[in-house]
Structures are given as structure tokens and as C-alpha cells.
């Protein structure tokens, strides 16, 4: 879900994804580079993101990932689920012992 959300911001390559992930989560969520790529490939196989080779700003060829329609729907669904789940958890946690 996190990867989908990040890619929802716009197409970017694997390196950028890893940078952005570190940035936004404030180093709390550490996704190692070693598991990032398999995760991206998995999303691609599921058809939620698509990839194309583009030449980047420095004239370097890189693989850019972007969200597909299917992925957007999946993101909405998962965001929804997460919202429900987290609010449920926080309700439980906030329960005062009677």
C-alpha cells in the first residue's frame, strides 16, 4: 500500500521510490533496497503498477513505475481497509478499564 501511495504521486524509478519512502516515513519504516525491488516487481505482475523505460534528467535510462487504474482502485480499497482497521484498533486501545 505504501508503495502504491508513493507511486500515486507520479511516475518514478526504483531509486526515487526508496528515497521518497525514507523521506516521508521519517526513517521509521525501513524498507531495505533488497526487498524493495521484489515488491515493485510483484506489484507490476499484479498489474497494479506499470513500468516503462525512460531517459532521466541526466540522460540516464531508468525504469519508471507508475500507478495503473487497477492499482488506483486497489489503493482506494486498501486505504479504506486500513482506515477501518486503524480506527478499530485505536478504539480498542482507547478503551478505559471500567
Amino acid at each position: 500500500m505504501l508503495l502504491l501511495k508513493i507511486l500515486a504521486l507520479g511516475p518514478m524509478n526504483g531509486f526515487a521510490v526508496s528515497q521518497r519512502l525514507k523521506q516521508v516515513s521519517g526513517d521509521v519504516l525501513q524498507v531495505s533496497d533488497g526487498s524493495l525491488y521484489p515488491a515493485l516487481h510483484k506489484l507490476e505482475q499484479e498489474g497494479w503498477i506499470t513500468a516503462e523505460w525512460k531517459t532521466s534528467e541526466y540522460g540516464r535510462r531508468a525504469k519508471y513505475y507508475s500507478l495503473t487504474r487497477l492499482g488506483r482502485r486497489q489503493l482506494e480499497k486498501e486505504t479504506d481497509n486500513w482506515g477501518r482497521l486503524s480506527s478499530a484498533i485505536s478504539r480498542v486501545i482507547k478503551l478505559k478499564e471500567a
Binding site: 526504483g14 533496497d33 533488497g34 516487481h41 498489474g47 535510462r61
Partner: protein
């Protein structure tokens, strides 16, 4: 997963499957790009180039590992792996073609035998009818506590079932038509009679015998069978007095009409009655009984027109007391089977009670049985023979599996090092297991393909053996179809799993340390336990096969040499059918006398006589005996064994020709042979049964309660077998032979010359008396007996062949394991010999291994042998299921094989030179 999702992902998967080199390249590029950027970043943070590069790689956690993980998420990885494994497997097979050939040949034997028997079993018993939606077909039969009241004759099935009741399958044509018209539970109810043999003349060519079936007008429409040419029958054509119309089979159309689409151009005579062909059935449509090919179909009502005029002047028409039409219905959609059955049974009760003027309670109860496979194509004995063969080939396949497993095992032992290295390099156990299984699967499929070819050939020959002595129109449809292909494929895969799992497990368990150590020689022990167990399993199964073959073989021998009561050697029967050439009753007598005299004059012929029913051919006649002054009871309208006697018609000199001893009185002679001849001869069984403690000579008997003094007993002869070698025979009566125009005349000939020369001579004699009457059949008595034992012989021959193959495989298995053991123990044997062991000791050592494996196998196999004996019990004749002689012979054969198989390895062990063996270390 949602379907649209699938739509989206499938191209991705395909892309990853077919363009995986490109994918890999891209993956490579992507990761390299990542590393470069990361390195740049670290350099920017102040690291040296080298440090930064190292750090970046560490972050990634190993390039190759990451790559592999990325590949794994593609989900089609297993297909790539599979292709890799298949390539590897093929390469391994190519590297050792001899090994591959042996494995594939062995598998082909096992799978081929199974395919062959299955294809016969399938076409004879399992396969549904070649019509549209066979599952909705129901056969309509009836059940009654007795022979149905008011019925004179039943043509079709009629047999006792449980609780003293009888089941029958046919009704009268008129009843059928009314039933078909008024019934509502079926979309259509079709009527069909059992096939008749008729003489057909096409466009003036010579007459031929073909099989004709009378069917209802709605037959082809009702079964949903589309004709390839012409039209089905019309309802109006099923009426007496209509112009006869015919539909012919595709085969008949091809062979006799050269596929001429202008059917109306051909002039056809059926039993000398002109008829018109209006349609051609589709190819592959044999009718409604597998293995029985009908050449010509005609409307039910044509039976009256086509039947040869009988001598008696009975009214020619359809009689409600004559039941001969079987019925099959297609269930109406939305109607349950029970509902349809109840409806038609009620309707039949009403119609039959009206037509036969019976109380409704006396009308048989209609029932329905599944019609998806049509009418039973085999008698229960033949069907069970096929199942027994299926069981035997199953055992054979297990033996083959054990054998192949052992072969693969011996190879995987030598490949232990390879597997161990793979495991050490990080392959998972599952992966190694899978790779070995894929190799086995490959071998299995290759074996299956070879087995299919072998099976096809084998099926044809088994079929010939199975059908020998039946007429040409009874052939099963044996072409390789999807069902047989599917069966073979499934069998190959199952077999591969079975024989492949053991070596694969072994390989996946490989430990590098062990493997490396075993390079440095080890004693046999543990390593060879598994192969030895497999060989024992093979012996166990082999015992089962041998025991079965022994029992079936001995049973056949018992049957074959059952005392028949006459001299079966040098006895032949020549048959002619003068009635078909136009001889009338009064001209027949002189013709028959003349032929008999001419044959008697042939050199080498000792005696000639005539007989109505050749002994030991199926058919024959049972009649109800009635005796003056004795009450005549009819129970349930059926012939009870107490009153039944077999009847035969014999000419003068018959008993002398067959060498049946006369016990009292005289035999039938010339003066008895006339239409009103009264003299009959009975056998001892008859005399004892009907006239216990009385002198039967001079007593009068009859076969009709109203004329029970028709015949006088003039002689008593010794008992003979009439129809069967197996069952108890009924008492027999011999009437004087009076030839009649409708049945063939058989000459029984006792001679001293061989049957082939005699056949030629007899053919010439018959042609010289009247060229218009051909010799229709010429059989020796022993041929007739063999024909009777067709099923038993098939079982004995096939089980014998299978057990020979099984024995050979067992011998190969034992020999292989022993050879391997000797090779591994070269060291040990060398030491033993150096320490003074003699040749005898070494040979004994090898033999002991062989015999102990065999004895273990025999012990394990005893329950299997017991089980197969139980299965075979019903088919055996005059033989205990646990026949000690057969058991002893089986054990003996196995031990002999064990000793023979040990011979080569023992020789090799003896030739070991202690010095060489020790230096080898």
C-alpha cells in the same frame, strides 16, 4: 480474483514467460542503475568510491539474491524451472541412450499392456453409445414373477433375477407402437429388435449374409442420430403391407454401394424380397449394442415381409403373443426417472391387459435401467474376463514401476554427488526433488508414448483372440480415441509419480558429506536396502501374476480335457445350407443321402452321419419332456430343470461315427429316418432321471403334453456333453434326423486323414453334387471345443504372457541389484578371498542374497496371491482356488529365476582377483 484482473495480468505473465531473457536483462539494468545512483549518493556523502559501492551493494543485500527474489514474484518461474528441468532431463537421457532405451521399453511394456486391455474394456463395457446426450437414455425392461401370461414367445432377454422373479426386455410390436404413441414421460420411445441374419443381394451380385435389425420408425430421430445420406424412416413406413425400405450402415454403404449417393439407383433383395434403400447411418454408429455392427435397418413391420415362409401355414402378421421388440427412451427434460417409469408402467399395464385380455395384475411391471451404454455387449463371463485381465495388467504395471524405480535408483545413487553438490550450493530440497521428478515424468511420458503404440498393436491382437470364433459383425470399435489417449496419459503420469518419487526422495535427502564419503568406498549395507526391498516387492507381485496364470492355465487344461463322452479326435463337421439354394423338404432327403454317400466313399473316411446340432457348439435346444400317465406341471410358465432335456437330431450311424457307446437297445437306423419316425435314443442320464429303476426301452415320451406318446425309446447310450464343458448337462434325447429347409445340414465325418486335405475333398464332393450349394462351414470337433473355451483361453494365454514378462523383469531386477552389490563389495570379497574363502563360498554368498530377496518377496506376496485366487475362484473349473500344485510351481519358478539371475553376478564375484581388489583401494 476478478476476471478483468486476469485479463490484465495474463499478458504480463506471458511476457515474463516468453521474453524472460529480455526481462532478465531489464532487471539487470534496473539494479545496476540503482547501484550507481546509490553509490553516487554515498560518494556525495563523503565516502570513497569503493566504500560507497560496497555500501550500496550491502544495502541491496546481494545482487543475485535480489534478482532471484524478483524472478520469483513473476509467478511463472515454475514454468521456467520446468523447461530447464526438462532440458536437463533430455540431456541426461541422451547421454545414456542405452539406459534410456531400457527404461522406456520397460515402461512401454507395462503401459502398453494396460492401454490395450483398457481400450477393449472401454469400447466393450465403459464407453457410452455414439449418440447425442447418451445420459438421458433409459432402457425399458420388465419384471414378472413368471413367464408372462398370454405370451407365446419371447425373443430378447428373459432371465431369472432375485426372489424367483424374471426380467425380460421385449414386448410385442403392436404394444410397442401404442406405448410409444401414448407415453408422455419420454421425448421419444424407440423400439429395436435383436439382429437377424438375412441374405442380401445388391444389384444382382451374389447373395451375402448380413446382420439386419428391425427398428421403429422414430429410431434415428429418437436417438438424435443424423443420417449422412438420405432420410430416416417415416411413421407410415412401419406398417404391414408398405413397400419395404432400408437404412444401411456406413460400412455397408462404403463396401457394397461404393458410397453412391444415389441410393434409389440400387436394387436390393432381402431374403428375396425387393426393398429400397432410403438412408445411410453415420460412420461409427454401430447400433445400440457395442461390438455388434448392424449392416441394415428396416422398420419393425418389415419383419413379416422379410421372414422366410415357414412350412406351417400360420397367419402372417403381427401377433401380440410374440414379444420381440426392445425399447429405449429418451427422458423428457424436467421429468424424473421415477416419474417416467411409473407413467409408462401404468400405461403398459392398461394397454397389455386390453390387448392380451389379461387381468391388469398379470401384466409384467415395466422398469427402466440406465441406457447410456446401450444394451450389454458382453455376457457376464466375458465381461469378468476383461476385468480380470485389467487387474493382471495392473499388477504388471506395478512390477514395471518397481523395476524402473530400481533402475533410476541405481542411477540416482551414482548421481548422489551431483544432488549433494546442488543442495550444498543452495538448492532447496523441494527443488532437487522436483527436478528428479520432472526427469521421471519425462521418462514416463516417453514410455507412455511408446506404450500407446505398443498398446494399439496389442489391443488389435487381443481383440482377435477375444473375438475368435465370433462372426465378423461383432467387432468392437477400437480406434484410439480421446478416452484411450487420456487414460494412457494419466497412467503415464501416475506411473512416473510412483516410480519417480523413490529416487527423487533419495536424491533430495542427499548429504554432501555422505556423498563425498561414499566416493571413498563404503560397505553395502544401508545403501542397498531400498533396491533390495523394491526387488522383493517385484517378486511379491510376480508371485501374484504367476499364481493367477497357473490357476487359469490349469483350469483351461481341466476344461479342455473334460471327458466329453465321445471321441473328439479326427472328427470333423461339414455344413451346407441347401434350403437357401431353393431345396424344398421333399428334395432335401435325396440330396442329403447322396452327399453322405459320396463323402463316405472318399479315401480315408471311416464313417459319415448327419446331425442337427453339432456337439459343443452353443445354441442347441432344451425341450420339456412329457410322459404318458405322469402329471404335467408347469411352474411359472418356465421350463424347470426337472422336466428339461436337450434334443438333438441324428442320422443313421451317428453314434458309431462319434463313438458314443450303446448301453442298451439299438441305435437309430435307416428305417427310423422319416417324417413320422417314432424311434428315439436317450442317454443314461435321461434313463436314470425319468425312469429310475425301470427299463426305459419301449417306453413312450413326447415333447408336447397333448402328444406325449409321440416317440418310443429304442436305445440307451452313454452320456455326452452337449453344449458346455463347464455346467451340469441336462438329460439328452436323440431324434431321427429329418432335414428341414430352414436349417443347415451338418455331416459328421470320422476320418484318418488330416482335416485340411479332407476339407478340400469334401468341398469338391459337395460342388460335384450340386454347384449351387456351397460348403458353408468345415470345422474339426477340437476347433469347436476351442471356440467354446475362447474366453478361458484368452485369460490363460494373456495371463501366461504377462507373467512371463513379469518373471523376466524380476530376473532383471534381481540381477541388477546383485551386480551392483558385487561391484560395491569388490573390496570385501577380495579380502574374503585373500583370507581363504573359496569359489563356492563366494557363489553361495551371492546366491544367499538372491534367494533371501526372493523368499522375502514370496512371503510378502502370499496375501496378494491369496487375493487373486479369491478373485479367480468363480472362473476356475475343477480347481481349488488355493491349488497347492500351482502354488508350488509358482514358488519353484521364482526360486529358479532367483538362482539363474544370480548366475552372472556370482560369476563376476568369483572372478575377482584379491590382489586387484585390494589394490583398488
Amino acid at each position: 480474483m476478478r476476471p478483468e484482473h486476469w485479463l490484465y495480468t495474463i499478458p504480463l505473465r506471458l511476457r515474463s514467460l516468453f521474453r524472460w531473457t529480455q526481462m532478465d536483462q531489464e532487471l539487470d539494468d534496473e539494479l545496476r542503475d540503482h547501484l550507481e545512483r546509490k553509490t553516487e549518493e554515498y560518494v556525495a556523502q563523503g565516502m570513497t568510491e569503493e566504500q560507497a559501492h560496497r555500501r550500496a551493494r550491502l544495502d541491496l543485500g546481494g545482487i543475485e539474491q535480489t534478482k532471484e527474489k524478483c524472478r520469483d514474484v513473476r509467478k511463472v518461474n515454475w514454468i521456467e524451472d520446468l523447461i530447464q528441468d526438462l532440458r536437463y532431463g533430455l540431456r541426461m537421457l541422451r547421454k545414456s541412450p542405452g539406459f534410456a532405451a531400457i527404461v522406456i521399453f520397460t515402461l512401454a511394456l507395462g503401459i502398453g499392456a494396460n492401454t490395450a486391455i483398457f481400450s477393449i474394456l472401454d469400447s466393450a463395457i465403459l464407453k457410452p453409445l455414439p449418440v447425442n446426450d447418451p445420459d438421458s437414455l433409459l432402457i425399458v425392461d420388465w419384471i414378472n414373477p413368471e413367464f408372462p401370461a398370454g405370451v407365446a414367445n419371447i425373443n430378447g432377454g428373459f432371465f431369472p433375477i432375485s426372489a424367483g422373479r424374471f426380467q425380460g426386455s421385449s414386448i410385442s410390436a403392436k404394444l410397442y407402437r401404442k406405448l410409444a404413441q401414448e407415453q408422455t414421460g419420454f421425448t421419444s420411445l424407440v423400439g429395436i429388435a435383436d439382429p437377424n441374419s438375412v441374405a442380401v443381394v445388391v444389384d444382382g451380385q451374389p447373395a451375402e449374409q448380413v446382420s439386419l435389425q428391425y427398428i421403429s420408425g422414430n429410431f434415428f430421430q429418437g436417438l438424435n442420430v443424423m443420417l449422412v445420406v438420405g432420410r430416416p424412416f417415416l411413421a407410415v413406413e412401419d406398417h404391414i403391407g408398405q413397400e419395404p425400405v432400408l437404412i444401411v450402415s456406413y460400412r455397408f454403404w462404403t463396401e457394397r454401394l461404393a458410397r453412391d449417393r444415389n441410393l434409389l439407383n440400387h436394387k436390393v433383395l432381402i431374403n428375396n424380397v425387393p426393398a429400397q434403400i432410403v438412408g445411410v447411418a453415420p460412420p461409427g454408429f454401430f447400433g445400440v449394442r457395442a461390438g455388434q455392427w448392424t449392416d441394415i435397418y428396416a422398420p419393425l413391420a418389415m419383419r413379416v415381409a422379410f421372414s422366410p415362409a415357414a412350412g406351417d401355414n400360420l397367419a402372417r402378421g403381427e401377433d401380440d403373443r410374440d414379444w420381440w421388440v426392445r425399447q429405449m427412451g429418451r427422458l423428457r427434460p424436467g421429468v424424473s426417472k421415477a416419474e417416467a417409469t411409473a407413467k409408462i408402467a401404468g400405461l403398459f399395464r392398461a394397454l397389455a391387459s386390453q390387448n392380451l385380455s389379461l387381468e391388469p395384475s398379470k401384466v409384467p411391471e415395466l422398469i427402466t435401467t440406465p441406457g447410456r451404454r446401450g444394451f450389454d455387449s458382453l455376457n457376464p463371463r466375458d465381461a469378468s474376463a476383461l476385468w480380470i485381465l485389467m487387474l493382471l495388467v495392473g499388477v504388471l504395471l506395478l512390477i514395471v514401476c518397481a523395476n524402473v524405480a530400481n533402475l533410476l535408483l541405481s542411477r540416482s545413487v551414482s548421481r548422489q554427488l551431483e544432488s549433494a553438490v546442488r543442495l550444498a550450493l543452495g538448492a532447496t530440497k523441494g527443488r532437487v526433488f522436483r527436478q528428479h521428478l520432472v526427469e521421471s515424468g519425462l521418462v514416463g511420458l516417453l514410455g507412455g508414448a511408446a506404450g500407446l503404440c505398443l498398446g494399439y498393436v496389442l489391443a488389435q491382437s487381443v481383440h482377435l483372440l477375444f473375438e475368435s470364433g465370433r462372426d465378423a459383425s461383432s467387432m468392437f470399435d477400437l480406434h484410439l480415441d480421446v478416452r484411450v489417449l487420456g487414460y494412457t496419459l494419466l497412467l503415464s503420469i501416475l506411473t512416473a509419480l510412483l516410480f519417480g518419487s523413490v529416487p527423487a526422495l533419495q536424491a533430495a535427502r542427499a548429504e554432501l558429506n555422505d556423498a563425498l564419503k561414499s566416493q571413498a568406498k563404503s560397505v553395502m549395507g544401508r545403501q542397498l536396502r531400498l533396491p533390495a526391498l523394491l526387488v522383493s516387492a517385484q517378486i511379491a507381485l510376480c508371485l501374484t501374476a504367476l499364481f493367477a496364470a497357473g490357476l487359469l492355465g490349469r483350469s483351461l487344461k481341466n476344461l479342455k480335457w473334460t471327458e466329453v463322452g465321445f471321441d473328439r479326435e479326427n472328427l470333423v463337421y461339414a455344413s451346407v445350407n441347401p434350403g437357401r439354394a431353393g431345396y424344398s423338404a421333399e428334395h432335401l432327403r435325396p440330396y442329403v443321402d447322396r452327399v453322405r454317400d459320396e463323402i463316405a466313399r472318399l479315401p480315408g473316411v471311416l464313417q459319415v452321419s448327419t446331425v442337427g446340432h453339432r456337439p459343443m457348439t452353443s445354441g442347441g435346444q432344451l425341450s420339456r419332456v412329457s410322459i404318458p400317465g405322469r402329471p404335467f406341471r408347469i411352474e411359472k410358465g418356465v421350463l424347470t430343470p426337472e422336466q428339461a432335456a436337450t434334443v438333438n437330431w441324428v442320422g443313421e450311424g451317428f453314434f458309431e461315427t462319434l463313438r458314443i457307446p450303446l448301453l442298451a437297445g439299438r441305435t437309430i437306423d435307416r428305417r427310423d429316418i422319416r417324417a413320422d419316425g417314432e424311434a428315439v435314443v436317450v442317454d443314461e442320464r435321461f434313463a436314470k432321471h425319468f425312469f429310475p429303476n425301470e427299463n426305459p426301452l419301449g417306453r413312450r415320451v413326447g415333447f408336447n403334453p397333448k402328444d406325449n406318446a409321440r416317440y418310443e425309446i429304442v436305445g440307451v447310450v452313454q452320456d455326452t456333453r452337449y453344449n458346455s464343458l463347464r455346467d451340469e448337462e441336462a438329460p439328452a434325447v436323440y431324434e431321427p434326423f429329418a432335414p428341414d429347409a430352414r436349417s443347415p445340414v451338418n455331416f459328421a465325418i470320422r476320418s484318418t486323414i488330416d482335416s485340411e486335405r479332407l476339407a478340400e475333398a469334401v468341398r469338391q464332393v459337395i460342388a460335384s453334387v450340386d454347384p449351387a450349394v456351397p460348403l458353408t462351414e468345415f470345422r474339426t470337433q477340437n476347433e469347436l471345443i476351442d471356440q467354446l473355451l475362447r474366453t478361458e483361453r484368452l485369460l490363460a494365454v494373456m495371463s501366461g504372457a504377462f507373467s512371463l514378462v513379469a518373471l523376466t523383469l524380476a530376473a532383471v531386477g534381481i540381477g541388477g541389484v546383485l551386480a551392483y552389490a558385487v561391484a560395491r563389495r569388490t573390496n570385501e570379497i577380495g579380502i574374503r578371498m585373500a583370507l581363504g574363502a573359496g569359489t563356492g563360498d563366494v557363489v553361495r554368498m551371492v546366491l544367499r542374497d538372491s534367494v533371501s530377496m526372493t523368499v522375502l518377496g514370496i512371503l510378502v506376496g502370499l496375501p496378494g496371491a491369496y487375493a487373486i485366487a479369491k478373485v479367480l475362484k468363480a472362473t476356475l473349473f475343477h480347481l481349488q482356488a488355493l491349488d497347492p500344485r500351482t502354488a508350488f510351481l509358482s514358488f519353484f519358478a521364482l526360486i529358479v529365476v532367483a538362482i539363474l539371475a544370480a548366475w552372472l553376478p556370482a560369476q563376476r564375484a568369483v572372478r575377482i582377483d584379491p590382489m586387484v581388489a585390494l589394490r583398488y583401494e
